[in-house]
């Protein structure tokens, strides 16, 4: 039922832990921008849209089966 929400929270904590222990991400660059900036400023948003739609489909399917 709450798998997508748990997945999202796991993803966010994972990213924070990654930033904390892999500072090399600040020095790798994609299109000139530090990779860690992109992983915080851009990446989470499409990921969150994905988790939201997944959660929505799951809830509606459960409801239709009930």
């Amino acid at each position: 039922m709450l798998l997508p929400l748990a997945g999202l929270l796991g993803f966010l904590c994972g990213v924070a832990v990654l930033f904390r222990f892999v500072p090399a991400l600040d020095h790798l660059r994609l299109l000139g921008i530090p990779l860690s900036w992109l992983m915080l400023g851009a990446l989470p948003f499409p990921v969150m849209v994905g988790f939201a739609l997944w959660q929505l489909r799951r809830a509606e399917r459960l409801e239709d089966e009930a």
Binding site: L8, A16, W37, M48, A52, Q55, D64
Partner: protein
Amino acid sequence: MIVAFAVLPVVLITLLIGVRGVAAMRTTSDFLVASRRISPVLNSAAVSGEYLSAASFLGVAGMVVKDGIGALWYPVGFTAGYVAMLALVAAPMRRSGALTVPDFAEARLGSSALRRLTAIAVLVIGVVYLVPQFRTAGLVLSAVSGTPYWVGVVIAGAAVSVTLALGGMRAATYVQAFQFVLKLVLLVVPAIWLLATVGAGVRHEAVHPVEFTHFAHDTPVTFELDVTLTMREPTPIRDADGVSQVYPPGELPVGTGTRLVFPAGAPVPEANGGRLPGAPGWERPLLDVDGYPLLGTLSVVIATVLGTMGLPHVIMRFHTTPDGRSARRTAAFTVCLLSVFYLVPGIYGTLGKVLVPQLYLTGATDTAVVALPSQVDTGGAGTTFTALLTAGAFAAFLATSLGLLLVISGATAHDLMSGGLRTLRTTVLVTAAVVVLLALPAAPLDADVLVTWAFTVAAATFCPLLVLGIWWPRLTAVGAIAGVLTGLVTVSASILLALFGPPLPGWLAVLVARPAPWAVPLAFAVMIAVSSRGRPPSWARAAMLRLHLGERVPAQPGS
């Protein structure tokens, strides 16, 4: 002049839509939740329009300038909150049929004491959230036009309360859906123009941050607040009369309204003991509070994700959809809309760090967004984009304040005083006046402190109340009261201690300034422990069924 061009159209259009809504409005239910006929797409635009406050439009970029890239965790948490809302509360909350959170609490647990307590929590969250909106409106208007801080605050208060008293939520729905589009366009278009105009050198420096240690060019700075500057080395400063003087290392108190010019090459003093923008650690994507980056970051994530679910003005929005299913879709669409918007503030933040780092000296980094265009172009284009961004900022302020004022007035008139439409309208005006009075001395407070406070109170009161009320049949009224009271008191006491108490060492300071990691579990634990000792209301099972049974979907052939 900029203010007239930027702010007047936003206020006039808001009023116009507000007045059009009046014709359709007859009862309290009409006023509060637009008679529940709003479609998920329109409603999610309105939710986003309402939610994207001055803290999002201006504050995130300002925090990036001041504190670093880690500030981008705020918009991530603000968005993730809607996934939690979608999963846990949206549909059942709508199906409860209750008009407001206090209504829900009373219907589920049958306690009028709990209803009054939740109404008080609505008041606390609403006021703490409204004050930084009014503060930012005042700062922005004074930054772009030179009017005193209080003028902006008063203009803001008048515009919001008149709109709301005339149109109510029906007006707010259309106003806010319109304002989401307006804010998105007004943030994205100037960002593209800025990126194209600043030149390769600035773009390169934006992604290769260096510490702001020396002024790159003659920099005039106007102090809107009292600030204490700390010089590390002899610093030449020109005062308003053009007299140059070299100040020795040490402290220099600067009063409100002072205008100083720092010549090119002068070392940058520290303001109020803060770190310089771009100092080592600025580029780290974590919220480093007193040397505890992981704890600092996760406490903000917890507060924003769980707090969004408990924001009373956002919850109320879900009652304007026809049924539980569309309430859930509203939450999902909202995640999509917010995800587009929140890609942009980081651009302003990183450019602001390069072009207007001196805002750090005055404590007015929240005005970085509107200060940028004039740094890039001193002619007509710069002025035009400043006006557009000011209009967007004012729209952001107006939309959030409409929803918050409505919910505060609803709590006061509907839950604490049980009055009708006339009481509600009067309450709107009185509430706006009170918030204006509170915002006047709030100029020196950081917007992020106030916003975190509101989110944390919501996370430690309404989040446990709603989640347990919806998913746990054994919740009792006494348990709910104990939990809400615990959350409300501990969070407020903790943040007041951080603001006005003695400085604390290490991780203790982090947990006192950002109490979400312990206060939210504590509120849940108290609610569960106290409830376990009592007997749940006799109608609990029936109430749970009503919350969780889907609306009748038309039977599909073959299913």
